[in-house]
Symmetry: D2
Subunit: 343 residues, 4 copies
């Protein structure tokens, strides 16, 4: 195990990442050192880099919250993992045991301790994971393909799972926004729901075509037609039973609110910063909630789906030297699928 490693660090806000030589942390107790096989580049990193989401605890800081790789070294209390084991890293870390930790919902406990956001992340050759309990065996998946599943694949999965108890054969599921997460959303809607009609809504014909390829039964271009009217028409006036909004703008949130049928479930995932006026005139008992990342159990289910060929993202491999260009491309919508650092 080397003493130092390369890491792509944010040294100042609104500046490119710098490749710096930093110390390799040593795993003690339950901790595990993971050699990064892939670390996904995520849109929310852009918000962190530009201080729009002012959460980084200090600078220089190593971001990277979508990680997978191989166990490099283990602390003396680690059980069940040995050097060389390929693993995915669950990232919703916390240090404060509370009810949500006890229930396996640790990602809801302390956002300031998440990997790559509150603690050093995977844009480096090695990542220190505080406990082996955050690791999942890959069992046949490659680290580079597993990395983006830990967030881009996991977040829409949790959102879709929230719909399942309210769906039934013949009911209608709507995916609003068919970007990176929404494409997973369409695939999950197809794979997880019981013979529902899956409808995808977007403003981009190319994305709607992808949605159809991924299994959407119907698509609506919301620039060309009122999606609320279209959904009402498709459902005999009832509205949809399950809706996930992967955009989160004023418009899409208002549409989701209005197209929800009786006792429908509506989940908002997108972070475009929108809102809508929630009133009581609409007494149809539809339910509205948000969804935040996912659990270890849910990540294990996402990996199982990937092994069955559901939820295979298109991967673009990136070297340290290419990261700033890749973030530039990401900011301008020029990345197909997911860019993943392969150190």
């Amino acid at each position: 195990m080397p003493k130092t490693m390369r890491a792509a660090q944010l040294v100042a806000y609104n500046q490119p990442l710098e490749i710096r030589e930093v110390e390799v942390p040593q795993p003690q107790g339950e901790a595990v050192l993971v050699k990064i096989g892939g670390s996904g580049l995520c849109h929310s990193d852009l918000h962190l880099m530009h201080a729009e989401i002012p959460m980084l605890p200090y600078l220089p800081f190593t971001m990277g919250h979508e990680n997978a790789g191989w166990v490099e070294a283990v602390g003396e209390q680690v059980q069940g993992f040995a050097p060389g084991d390929p693993v995915a890293v669950f990232g919703g870390w916390s240090t404060k045991p509370d009810r949500f930790t006890w229930l396996g919902e640790e990602q809801l406990t302390d956002v300031t301790k998440w990997v790559g956001i509150g603690q050093p992340g995977g844009y480096a050759e090695y990542l220190l994971v505080p406990t082996y309990r955050y690791l999942l065996p890959l069992e046949g998946l490659q680290p580079v393909e597993a990395a983006p599943l830990t967030d881009a694949g996991l977040t829409p999965y949790r959102a879709l799972k929230k719909l399942l108890p309210d769906l039934y054969p013949g009911s209608t599921v709507v995916i609003i926004g068919v970007g990176g997460l929404g494409q997973f959303g369409v695939q999950y809607a197809r794979a997880l729901t019981p013979s529902c009609t899956v409808v995808a809504i977007d403003v981009d014909e190319n994305k709607l075509r992808i949605a159809r390829d991924l299994g959407a039964d119907e698509t609506i271009n919301s620039r060309q037609a009122d999606p609320v009217e279209r959904i009402k028409a498709m459902t005999g006036g009832e509205g949809a039973q399950g809706i996930v909004d992967f955009v989160g703008a004023d418009t899409t949130m208002q549409q989701a609110y209005q197209m929800a049928g009786r006792q429908a479930k509506v989940v908002f995932v997108g972070l475009a910063g929108g809102s809508f006026p929630f009133g009581t005139r609409l007494l149809n008992e539809a339910t509205f909630t948000t969804s935040s990342w996912g659990t270890l159990a849910e990540l294990s289910e996402v990996l199982a789906l990937a092994r069955k060929g559901v939820a295979k993202p298109h991967i673009q491999r990136v070297r340290f030297e290419e990261m700033n260009q890749a973030f530039e491309d990401l900011a301008h919508g020029r990345i197909e699928g997911r860019a993943v650092l392969v150190p």
Copy 2:
């Protein structure tokens, strides 16, 4: 069975009810004629009388949607009920079988067919109930005490039941608004939740005193303290796990939104016409919904609670001749508990 009966009818909007002699309907098929023992005067009748909720199908019209009494006569297909049987009348009628009817949620199917709103109601000596399936045996309760349970007692019950799966010993339940429905809400919170801390919020010290008498552990006068801050302080910063807003004004809805803890359930029942901006910044997975009346099964549970001494409303008996005065009193907040017509 007499040919005609007295009924208190709305003859013109914004006019007092008139006591008129009308035909007694004859029950056929599955229908049952019920001799009214009590028909509750409800605040929403005021909205109907003043055309603020423009739902009455024609005039003159007999309102009255909280009904109980005795079976007077039965159609030839009626099973299990005989003249003289004391019964409560479920009021969320519909004529259109659909998924919600099949699931026992008929009150969600067709609001235009509800008793006393879309079809003639109980402000009369007799009420025609279209099927014996809408009747529940009273089994020891008096019709005059059962009548207000069918709406004023049922609506808050359904709202509180929506909270139950998310509560646990030591969690906090908040009742906003301790009027007629909110007082049931406090009692149900006390009786149904598993050793939760029950907090009542109102602007009226007298109502807060009643809330404490009914079992609230804590009360907050929202004129004197910020209820959001108080709830956060009581819960170590977490927020409440269950909230029912029986007011539904902009202020209370916004407060409910802000005091909701992680994965909390918030139910809006009050119809004051408010709204709040639902955004995605608050990613704590709290869930927001509305609640509308209740089911037959839920009404049977309310009657069971009443038999056990939970949910006993204070009743003020009213004769036909006193109804207009009673509605006047109701409009000005001068009714303690519930006014019930006893024809």
Copy 3:
């Protein structure tokens, strides 16, 4: 509407059905007369005919509990159905409103009132349905294909639905017995579960081949291998998360008990009369229950699945004159799929 009609009636136990001319009942109130388009021949009829299930209320009696056809005439209180409408008939009738009726689980209320078992059924030209609330619009399905869905298609659907809350991607679902109901079971497991591994168990290689054709991932011939050991081996020692036993013999029930993983759900549907010793040594919190027919809402979901091409049974049309031969064939396992009377 004719005064008399042909009906295939049981006149004496252990005798062939007789085709007799009987009166056509007249629908009154909420009742509907349905012209039979198809009435499925069911194995349980054999038990009734041989007095093994001694439930027929009188003789001569018209059996037939899987019915679909067209509305012929309606009582004066019927809403939303008119002569000529193609309909499926829900069969779990009851006359006693109770909690299960209120909850839309009427089939659990009074087995002695089920159509074709406690009240005259569909082995006739016309069937009197006591209320239009038991009818579902066919919306594109043919009566002859819809008829067997009302029991043979519905019963396994309800059983499979009981598993769903406990399944997750990568978990294992076991169908024991791939006869008529089990074949629906395999199809539902394939269509409804979220990327689970579907395993079918039978003693007949031909049926296991059908199971694979219908989507089973794995099959086990329990004559050739110990299915408990095989399931344990497939699941890393854990056992299956969902099991439906469509046989219900001592052996299969014991196997289901032993192959159940932690917190698994096991549903017994088959009526072979078996049992197994349920002990407390196995403290893995697996849950065991039975499943009985299905609800109106579930039947509507089965019809939705049939419209999407899931759950299409192989139909063998039978005329009145061929019914006794068809029952003979049914008794000897010579019917492929479902035999349906087309009067």
Copy 4:
């Protein structure tokens, strides 16, 4: 921190415990050393001591799985706990992360690693807890009263919680066996269920009197009356909706099976080694399961109930020198409430 401590160890099967001087373990990484304030004597220890449950990994061995005390020393990775903090110790330890660990159900993962059964327990002055994640702050409770809550209080709590989704006001809950765990069961049924009728069944009049004192509405002495008939009579023939059998003998299990109403939930907790024939004749969709210890979240709820005065056990303090006598008394039913070692 001393180098050695006293521990009551099992040196040979069927022999009294010996008080021996053993090494004090040193906490490293996430581990915590707890100074024992109370360690409950449990009936299952008798089974271990007599090799009836052959699970001890080696001898001499320190049993004791109901533990509470004060943090004495912490490993270098411990967060949120400091020496002197009063804590309860969750005991369902495991070292193998799997789905149940991820879901906060770690006690279901590896029984061979439970404290006091597979790893050294609390019959000593100090206990090494492998991670601070197993600790709950006492917040006002005394260690000696909290200790028995971690098993004797927790196990019946989890069993009762399994009933809750199936109960409603007016439904009937049955507790079979009013010994130590059953007494908690009666208290939980009273505190957690929504105005249900709570019925306790035992063969001992004294225990039935205690049950009434703890809030049972009805009691049945099953030596004097057939409890199945009595429950059926109390419930209009329906049967109970929730049943917990704290005995687990052939007789009680058979009774629980027979007194279960439609869709009832029956939970078996008692380990008397009984069984009953589970058949398919009873098609009422009642559900049967077992319950095993409890989760960290559930333990936190039990502590919350204790703080509110529910679930306060009668405690008999025992010194090291009195332990063998106390186990003797326990074996012969001479302990009132719970005996707790106070070192």
